[in-house]
Subunit: 411 residues, 2 copies
């Protein structure tokens, strides 16, 4: 399938990526700014989250209400979110409304008011969100797993903590904004029914004179303790397990994806079959792949009754360790069918394409073509996946549980 | 935009709907069978959920493992779910794999094994899912709201209860299956890159000789008590509010949608602005529209700290009651932009289209065209929405809260 993919890196360092999808009427935009919560200073944990809310509350010539209304009037479905390394601004609407939306985002990213008089309301919301995690044990166990699996500050959670949020001042937020919001390292991707020349000219006009080129850096701390239990009077015990894998860009990347899908891609996958279908141990069990540039992990989750939690943990770990014993060719056929089908689904979604353009660029410095991905999937074999698993066997597990009682961790 | 929409109702009562989307490579299928949890007998609450799991575990010539593997090998992303009135089988994959998937679904719907030896595992999973709600206060408050807002059995929850699940036998499930799985009242919809004539012939071959035409009926009980508090030691208080609206098909339907979107469509909508942005009362607050054929509701949710829950409830109710005082034209412009943008997004998704074909047919007995919906949206005015709200003002609230302490309910 021919793809119309375009790229320009402006002199100030901002990267613009676009894919023209001529049979659609919508367009999606995706802005990554290197201002994720890993850059939250220890005494101000939560600052990225607070900034991501405050930054929308007035920008350029518009006050808070006017910004929101202007975006809503363009029919923009949108979301601002804070990841580990990036703050992400996503939106989707009719292609013809995209230029007007980008004009507003230029104000938001470059000329936000960060109004001091709204800071109390924003901090109150950040407290609320932080507190609500205590009522969501599934979410909590995955947050605590991440915190123990990655060296600080990579494992930091965007919700921050009470002291961090309380400490925030309008001045401090403005300084944080100025340090991190800059063209170098920022990526804007767009997919949909767009005209590349007009888009590039628009972005040159809106962002060409944006200044700043000190990409932030992180100093990693030591690895935290790998096993932990969080005591809580819940009716179910939550289990989170993580172990190292290879990052995107590594020669084993597709084999690693294949291995995760042997575990958890589709309903005939191993975890679903062994833990859920055969033994009825838990309703939800899955594994997924997570990557940074220089490291990656497989993260597994299971939630079970308190009585059957130990067996759930044991069976899940056993399945992880059993992977390196070998993979069946019927499993690889299934995995390939699933990966190819997802690839086609992504092709048809402007939001999915905009997201992939930006993440490919960030991780690889280029955008992979469908043909490249498709032939990498086609070339998967049981031998390749097994070879990968013997080089990088599931081990060095980080395990976090949450529930009334700790479990035995033999891993 | 020209649409290729096709329809056939077979002599046995099965309805087939299809939309040809020639620029995509995928296809989605959506099967509605009138076997939702409202048909669960009181002594067997949970039977629909258990059946929806068991029905996939072997069908036609394939055993449990073979069914799952065959579907996974087609790259099918799929889900079986239980609604109030329908059991839903959804799947999406490459268009070229659709006929093979439909062959397997014909076995699942018409020739399931419902294996007795897997019933214990399936019941264990149903218990687990039932129990997990106790750890999910947001989900719990909405389930309990529904139970108190609609007359039984419309408000029944698919999770059932412990005694109901325990009571289930393989024979009882088989009888329930035989009673409810039949062509009359079942709707199959497909959207994607399909050939209508081939599809119709395939469905005629797979389902033409399916028998059974006793559509199940429901006898409604009295309305339950409208206010309730569920005591639970949570860090946040959950609030659910429901009130009557007009069903799809009613002359006021689009005005009712407009009113809900004035409350909750986009970030400049009233609930978000008044409850969240200005006062910082709660992180999550929304309203959504829910319809049956003969009745409909607006359901609102808010979750707040225990300290600010009373104010959250009061402000939310005040916003609901204030609706009938009138709507601004800038609000209607925003709502129209949002509704039109969602319409375009739906057009581009095979899954969204398959779902809409089936629900339009169920509620209206026909499929609405884009042009019809678009001109209904275009014709919305502040006067129309206000007129609707004066005829059907938000009142007769059902309110359910969950948290450490009850709230004052002045509604």
């Amino acid at each position: 399938m021919p793809q119309d993919i375009f790229h320009e890196t402006f002199p100030n360092g901002l990267t613009l990526l676009a894919e023209r999808m001529k049979h659609v009427r919508s367009a999606a935009l995706n802005f990554l700014v290197p201002a994720g919560c890993a850059y939250d200073p220890l005494q101000h944990l939560g600052i990225a989250s607070v900034l991501s809310d405050l930054i929308i509350r007035g920008a350029g010539q518009r006050n808070s209400r006017e910004v929101t209304l202007a975006l809503d009037n363009l029919g923009l479905d949108r979301d601002e979110s804070v990841g580990s390394l990036h703050m992400r601004f996503w939106g989707a609407t009719l292609a013809r409304n995209l230029p007007a939306a980008l004009e507003i985002y230029a104000d938001i990213l470059r000329r936000p008011h960060l109004p001091a008089d709204q800071l109390d309301a924003v901090k109150a919301l950040a407290f609320q969100e932080l507190q609500s995690i205590e009522d969501e044990p599934k979410q909590k166990v995955l947050i605590e797993l991440r915190r123990r699996h990655y060296p600080a500050p990579l494992g930091q959670d965007r919700h921050g903590n009470r002291a961090g949020i309380e400490s925030l001042s309008a001045d401090g937020i403005h300084t944080h904004y100025q340090k991190l919001f800059q063209p170098r390292g920022s990526i804007l991707s767009v997919a949909g029914n767009i005209d590349w020349n007009k888009l590039r000219d628009l972005i040159a006009r809106l962002f060409g004179d944006w200044k700043g080129d000190q990409e932030p850096s992180l100093t990693l701390g030591p690895l935290p303790s790998p096993h932990d239990h969080i005591e809580k009077e819940t009716t179910q015990t939550q289990i989170g397990i993580a172990y190292p894998s290879v990052p995107i860009g590594h020669e084993d990347y597709y084999a690693a994806q294949g291995a995760v899908n042997v575990l958890s891609g589709g309903m005939s996958a191993r975890l679903f079959t062994e833990v859920r279908e055969k033994r009825g141990l838990c309703y939800a069990v899955w594994a997924s792949y997570q990557t940074f540039k220089d490291r990656a992990s497989v993260v597994c989750y299971a939630g079970s009754t308190n009585e059957r939690a130990q067996e759930t943990l044991d069976v899940t770990l056993q399945e992880l360790k059993r992977l390196q014993e070998g993979i069946e060719s019927e499993e690889v056929d299934r995995v390939k069918a699933g990966l190819k089908s997802s690839l086609i689904m992504q092709e048809e979604s402007t939001s999915a394409r905009a997201g992939t353009l930006a993440s490919d660029w960030y991780y690889l410095g280029r955008v992979r073509s469908f043909d490249e991905i498709q032939s990498a999937i086609d070339s998967l074999t049981p031998e390749k996946i097994t070879h990968h698993l013997r080089r990088y066997p599931p081990r060095d597990f980080t395990i976090v549980t949450l529930g009334p009682k700790p479990l035995r961790m033999s891993a």
